[in-house]
Subunit: 152 residues, 2 copies
DNA sequence: TATTGTTATACTCTATAACTATA
DNA sequence: TATAGTTATAGAGTATAACAATA
């Protein structure tokens, strides 16, 4: 961790804009997901499962989400009660459990996704000039890499 | 809310990078603040109070942070127990209470801020090319404006 | 022995509603 | 009557540690 002088106004503006934009977009997303009965974490789970036709091991899912196993157990139980996810035996390892999306879960993802995309488009992507999405992806991608490398 | 086609790869990349960068930087910041015994919300409070020599009304602080009044009462009580904040009578309105930073609180902010700035610099600002901070601030500033206008 | 997943439990945080005191 | 702040309370979510079943 290097130490240095304070931030100048343009640096402060960029940092503030990044955190505020991240905050606000997450808040807006959370509000919209709530209309579909999902928290952001639950949406992450069902969205991930929608790409995994054979389901996903509980441990793997917990690692991917960076939550504890008991925390995942709690969330999957909630989703199971809502009928969106089912638990099944893990083939080849009788200790294991796989979470699988139900038909209702797949429908829910289908109902939720278009509005989610529209929100992101209207509040973010539509405000970027030509080529700016690519540039932003590159720049912020570097930021993500650095943070991951630093163990965040 | 407009509806539209799915996101193309560069759009998806920009969106993913924004949320991931926002997430990761907030996580890294939270971890660092924890070393100084503060949550992000508590840091927001003491940082704000450090710019308010005469203290700040509880209601105004709650509005500024976008938390309920009882939620602010809880946090200020925690900070008071930690000796970082004190409550004082509000001049001119005997119903009011102002939260003021104690000397210990001011010291804590002073101890916490340099590392905070360094983290932001190392993981974000140092990765931007010349002029990029300004550009990013402008672009993301538009995003923030839009989200605020949309009531986020 | 080690690993998978659940359960028991405790803790933090948040909000709503009721309440007190003052405007 | 309305507003400022606190308190009582309840709910959601998270994690740690202990546990049962299997590898």
């Amino acid at each position: 961790m290097t130490d240095g002088p304070a931030l100048d106004p343009s640096e402060l503006g960029a940092y503030f804009a990044l955190t505020a934009a991240g905050d606000l977009i997450q808040r807006a997303v959370a509000a919209q997901l709530a209309e579909h009965g999902l928290t952001p974490l639950q949406f992450s789970i069902v969205a991930k499962l929608s790409e995994s036709p054979d389901g996903m091991r509980m441990s793997d899912l917990a690692d991917w989400l960076v939550v504890s196993r008991s925390g995942l157990t709690y969330q999957v139980t909630q989703l199971e009660r809502a009928g969106l996810v089912a638990r099944a035996a893990s083939p080849g390892d009788d200790r294991g459990v796989v979470a699988v999306l139900t038909d209702a879960g797949r429908s829910r993802v289908g109902e939720t996704f278009p509005g989610h995309v529209a929100l992101v488009r209207e509040n973010f992507l539509d405000l970027l000039g030509p080529g700016e999405a690519t540039a932003l992806g590159t720049t912020l991608g570097r930021v993500v890499e650095r943070l991951r490398a630093n163990g965040a």
